[in-house]
């Protein structure tokens, strides 16, 4: 039994780390741009496919694929921003319209991936040497440990950027007052494009991690990740990166630990119940400051 529990804890942290990273990028997008990016999951899966292609046609291993995916998705996000977002701000309720648009985007991206990769599940047939390591009493796959390391490093870097550098503060300031940030001379369009591209890049890298942590993916698994991302974002408190990190870990742990003690089919309920109860008790999420409307 204690092996099971240990396994649950360890894997919970690892899986939670990936969730946290997806949540981080989503919360950045929502915070800075008020974009409810329903297509985020497709970006993630896109990252997984990039790693797949890089490995299968060029032999580039996933660890090296990460920076490449980051660059690729950054460019994609930058271009995507100018294509989509400026017009969006003209609507009465950019938040819901962004949801709708990104929903369309999600359908379209999934369809594109379907055309490129067909509907079946893929996995990258790459294994670290050794394939797993013994941590205390339990075996953990090397891929997962690597993924966890990357998650921690990226979260730390992102937190440093947002809280310690001026451009990071400018991004947060945009969350607080979008008109005022223009007045002090910040090119919001460039800044927003940067935020969008950054979030997309993180999503892409998360995709590579997803391919390492949950081996199989297909063009339609995006939505699952988008939903998890949203849960993490809301659980942590909107626009709050630290909250997203905590919430991701909490959600991952809850998911894994409940499978230890409950039938797997019931375990999913636990994750959702945690979300619902936390939000009903603390309507602004774990680290949310105030309700936003």
């Amino acid at each position: 039994m204690e092996i099971l529990v240990l396994n649950g804890l360890l894997n919970g942290l690892i899986v939670g780390g990936v969730y946290a990273l997806i949540g981080l990028s989503l919360t950045l997008l929502y915070g800075v741009l008020r974009i409810v990016n329903f297509a985020h999951g497709e970006f993630v899966i896109g990252g997984a496919f990039v790693a797949y292609v890089l490995y299968n046609s060029l032999g580039i291993p996933p660890l090296l694929a990460m920076p490449l995916a980051a660059v690729f998705f950054f460019g994609l996000g930058w271009a995507g921003y100018f294509l989509l977002i400026p017009r969006l701000s003209r609507s009465d309720d950019p938040e819901i319209m962004s949801f709708l648009m990104m929903y369309g985007m999600s359908i379209a991206l999934a369809a594109v991936m379907l055309l490129l990769f067909e509907a079946d599940s893929r996995s990258i047939d790459y294994a670290f040497e050794p394939i797993s390591m013994k941590v205390g009493l339990v075996y953990v796959s090397t891929a997962r440990l690597v993924a966890f390391g990357v998650t921690l490093a990226m979260s730390a870097a992102l937190a440093w950027f947002l809280f310690r550098t001026l451009p990071g503060k400018a991004l947060r300031a945009t969350i607080m007052n979008r008109e005022a940030i223009q007045i002090v001379g910040v090119d919001v369009i460039k800044l927003s494009a940067f935020a969008f591209a950054l979030a997309t890049a993180i999503a892409g890298v998360s995709g590579v991690l997803v391919a390492l942590v949950f081996p199989a993916f297909n063009p339609f698994s995006g939505t699952d990740y988008a939903i998890i991302g949203f849960i993490v974002v809301v659980l942590g408190g909107l626009g709050n990166p630290v909250g997203a990190l905590l919430a991701g870990l909490l959600y991952g742990l809850a998911e894994q630990m409940s499978t230890v003690f409950l039938p797997q089919a019931m375990a999913q309920i636990v994750g959702f119940l945690i979300l619902v109860t936390v939000i009903l008790v603390r309507p602004t999420g774990i680290l949310g400051w105030r309700a936003q409307r």
């Binding site: 396994n7 079946d120 394939i131």
Partner: protein, 384 residues
């Protein structure tokens, strides 16, 4: 002298859960069409009529299916229909075709409950009933000497009914079922499930889901260093599984209908080798080789041809009558055809395979076996 072609309606999923399987099946049907039409068509009342496929998209969406079948029947005026892929969609389609009085050939829906609804015009031409589907594997494992077995399954009609049948048989054979757990759709991580199966003391692990999940399970079993004496994954001999899973799939048991080592003495239609030849000719660019969905649909085409020429009519009731009359009298590339009056299929049993480092072998049933099963499988630490 040719007459107006026979129009067969069918939906194919362009997207969604069933897209790959549906398209795989469609290719099988195309082979049959190509074959019939090259022979001039089907003879009805002395006139050769070519066969034409009218396919529409159902996006794997159950709510779309009745509407599409209605479109096929009312707007496209098809003479009979083929079912969509899978039990879920087929159940939705059956209702629409039944109310419109059309005959439906089912090639992929195994769920027993469809055949309990009292539908009059459905026939499962090649797909064996769900509860019988998972039984050969249990028999095979029993024969190898497995005494304790752990089951896990995705909570979906096909895996659920397969596992139900398997568990029933396992108990009947006196095996101890150490775990019996279902998991919900969208479960992405099976680590704990695998650990639980190990902890239950099972010798064999029998988790059933669709390919993606099974790939993850195979990988995670290896990562967790979880040494079972046998692991059975239904889909592990699917070409795409073999291609993706690599070492993860070694020594895994699976089942299939289509493999170069499975050759039924056919009474009707092409045999496996001939079919595969046509496949290569018709689909030189298809990314995947044919799989068991392909042969299921092809076989269903062959059965349909016999039904039509026996009935000498496209009337639903007459066709059903003919279908029953033919029960037990046809062997296609997928195997024997045998139905009861509900349209449920009893034969066309799958063969059990094992993936060895050197390739797939048929390990059960003994008459078609090409190798002895490797049991217990070597522990991960001793594999290269």
């Amino acid at each position: 002298q040719t007459d107006a072609p026979i129009r067969i309606g069918m939906t194919v999923s362009s997207a969604g859960t069933f897209a790959l399987a549906a398209q795989s099946g469609e290719r099988g049907l195309q082979i049959w069409l190509d074959d019939v039409n090259s022979r001039g068509g089907i003879d009805i009342g002395g006139k050769k009529r070519k066969v034409e496929l009218v396919k529409l998209d159902d996006r794997s969406d159950k709510t779309l299916v009745p509407r599409v079948y209605e479109t096929l029947i009312k707007d496209e005026k098809v003479d009979l229909v083929f079912g969509p892929f899978g039990s879920t969609l087929t159940a939705a389609a059956a209702n629409a075709t039944e109310t419109n009085g059309k005959f439906m050939v089912i090639w992929s829906a195994s769920a027993d409950s469809i055949y309990r609804q009292g539908y009059k015009y459905i026939v499962s031409a090649t797909q064996i009933a769900g509860t019988l589907l998972g039984q050969p594997a249990v028999r095979a494992l029993h024969a190898m000497g497995v005494k304790k077995i752990a089951f896990a399954y995705l909570d979906e009609p096909f895996p659920a009914s397969l596992t139900q049948g398997a568990i029933e048989l396992a108990r009947k054979l006196g095996m101890e079922v150490t775990m019996e757990e279902k998991f919900a759709k969208g479960t992405k991580d099976f680590n704990i499930l695998i650990q639980k199966a190990r902890a239950s003391g099972a010798e064999a692990f029998y988790p059933t889901a669709y390919e993606g999940d099974q790939m993850t399970i195979a990988r995670q079993i290896r990562e967790a260093n979880a040494d079972f004496k046998a692991v059975y994954l239904v889909y592990a001999s699917q070409p795409q599984f073999l291609q993706q899973a690599g070492k993860d799939g070694h020594y895994v048991f699976s089942q299939t209908l289509l493999h170069e080592k499975i050759n039924w003495p056919v009474t009707h239609g092409l045999n496996r080798a001939q079919m595969m030849e046509r496949y290569a000719k018709l689909f030189p660019n298809a990314q995947y080789t044919a799989d068991f969905q392909t042969i299921l649909a092809y076989g269903a085409g062959v059965v349909t041809e016999q039904i039509i020429s026996t009935a000498q009519s496209l009337d639903a009731a007459k066709m059903k009558e003919a279908a029953l009359k033919l029960s037990g009298k046809i062997v296609t590339a997928t195997g024997e055809y045998e139905i009861d009056e509900t349209g449920k299929q009893f034969k066309n049993e799958f063969s059990i395979m094992q993936t060895t480092p050197t390739g797939l072998e048929v390990v059960y049933p003994p008459p078609v076996a090409t190798a002895k099963p490797i049991y217990p499988v070597p522990p991960f630490s001793q594999r290269k």
